[in-house]
Subunit: 131 residues, 3 copies
Amino acid sequence: MNLEIQTTTRTELIDITDSVRAIVKESGIKNGICVISTPHTTSAIIVNENERRLRVDILGMLETLVPENKSYAHNSIDNNADAHLRAVLLGMSEIIPIEDGHIILGTWQRILFVELDGPRNRNVNVTIIEK
Amino acid sequence: MNLEIQTTTRTELIDITDSVRAIVKESGIKNGICVISTPHTTSAIIVNENERRLRVDILGMLETLVPENKSYAHNSIDNNADAHLRAVLLGMSEIIPIEDGHIILGTWQRILFVELDGPRNRNVNVTIIEK
Amino acid sequence: MNLEIQTTTRTELIDITDSVRAIVKESGIKNGICVISTPHTTSAIIVNENERRLRVDILGMLETLVPENKSYAHNSIDNNADAHLRAVLLGMSEIIPIEDGHIILGTWQRILFVELDGPRNRNVNVTIIEK
């Protein structure tokens, strides 16, 4: 299954938990795993708390570790090396267990799509594997 | 299956390889994958060597990249932004292949639960998918 | 299935996409997931663009975040703590969806084996799970 996302700024975190939950419910699969992955090289999938100030801190950490305005070799081709590097650090997928027809997330866990070179139209692939 | 872990300090690495091995053995599943994931937003799962000095280096790297005492926005809500950010960097799950009834780990690989905001009672989910 | 890789320098990125594609094709499996994982503690698997300058930037980022020549505790045992730490940051595996017998990669996505302590003979495990 494919989720379509329209991002609105260069870097942002978008909560896709409810959409993933709906896909798992519709699948009718009771036990297994759900793999959430992005086919893009300048975006990422993470799982953590979706709290407004923490979202600011996550983007702040990325800017500290991989500054946007630094001299990168790839920028002679396409001016978005920082977005690729941040994507490599965060990873392109997450896996969530499914039990009794529901994804098993902890109290504070949310599935977040991380836009690193927006705004763009993006896709997220949701693959469900039965146990 | 659920593993219960009691951590004893704010940040530490706990080797859960033997517990995961036992769960895979009990499952009777011969070939597939084992997904080890944490439902918490201030802990992580990694796979690497469990060597005392390297454990110190891993925690040292986290302090260098995401210092505990820095001004984070989320800390006005809950004083643990560093733990969330470190969890985002390390990731919430790992996948290990299963062959002939055993998880396939390299000579030095161990499965490590990473406590980032302890001490707490923690859970780890182990999901086995048959091939 | 096992892929054998011979690396030629201390740190490098090797594109294994075509080998993974061939294994998935030979398996005859039409829908599911493909897990690519490394059994070593000083190498990693990532998915991103395979562009020459970006490969330089990725290794540059690793040197910035985890410098090779720094005082690490583990180096009193084995002089490669930086390689372990970089492997922890990047992760030991990636998962790619399979649809209609093909791995589903985005236009720019390639599967890259990351050597962090070469040159060595390395293995990569490819496990395919049917939906």
